[in-house]
Symmetry: D2
Subunit: 91 residues, 4 copies
């Protein structure tokens, strides 16, 4: 992930700003539906970061472990599937 840690950091800063924007909307008593629309935008941005991190993880860590040795590979694949499950909200 190293390579694009800076890009991920910047995206998260933008998300932090979006969350503050929602706070302001709530403080200024904005219309509920507008608040919900804004929260949905933050959720989309967060998902995109998560997929980005997952992508880097799969191509880096997981692929590395799989091509190198058997033991670590199984563990990495378990971890990966647990992350995917959590992500897709499958129990």
């Amino acid at each position: 992930m190293q390579a694009d840690a800076k890009a991920v950091h910047n995206r998260l800063r933008r998300i932090e700003g979006q969350v503050r924007g929602v706070q302001r909307m709530v403080d200024e008593d904005a219309y509920c539906v507008d608040v919900l629309t804004q929260i949905a935008a933050v959720q989309t941005a967060l998902e995109q970061v998560a997929v980005h991190v997952l992508d880097a993880h799969v191509r880096g860590c997981v692929a590395g472990a799989v091509s190198e040795d058997g033991d670590q590979a199984a563990e990495k694949l378990d971890e990966l599937m647990a992350a995917v499950r959590r992500f897709a909200k499958v129990r």
Copy 2:
């Protein structure tokens, strides 16, 4: 929503702090899977705020419009269903 705007604001502040925490993890080159777990926690917290706001909106605005007049009611119900659709990510 007025009544619990303060509670929503506080939850959003906590979420803002969580997002900053994820930034720190990325800066300190934390393990990808731990970053993903943390992002998932932020997503859960955001969803809970969204449902809370939706709940207040349905019981306040929507129920109010429905019990008072026909015209506004249809509009509010359209808005509500659009929010639910976006929320459940149904196209």
Copy 3:
């Protein structure tokens, strides 16, 4: 819902056929990714039916209860929010 029960029924029949199609793919040892794509199509179709039923319910039952009396209204709104929560997979 009565009015469009037939439409919902027909959509569900199509979904039943899609599920049978996925079974056939599995039997014929289709490529996993194609099976996943097909399952995703069924999920989308199911979601659309669910939103359709929810929409009819909100505009019929819920709006009716809200505009008529207070007691039933609260119960209907609780039920509605529980359905939305389940739908959006929010705990």
Copy 4:
């Protein structure tokens, strides 16, 4: 996947039966909220099948391609991430 194609097939048959059950509920004019609960159960069952297929795919196909050669590996990882994205409904 071969190994558990039979298990996947059986789960899909059960899902087909569940879909038919929902049709019957609609025909018998069941309460909307009960229909929604039943549709949610079908969705959960479908997701579990999808995760099962994805799991087998990752441990079989993807891990195989990664440990064997570079070219196929990149393609398999692209496919995998596309499936995860679709699954988690991330655009």
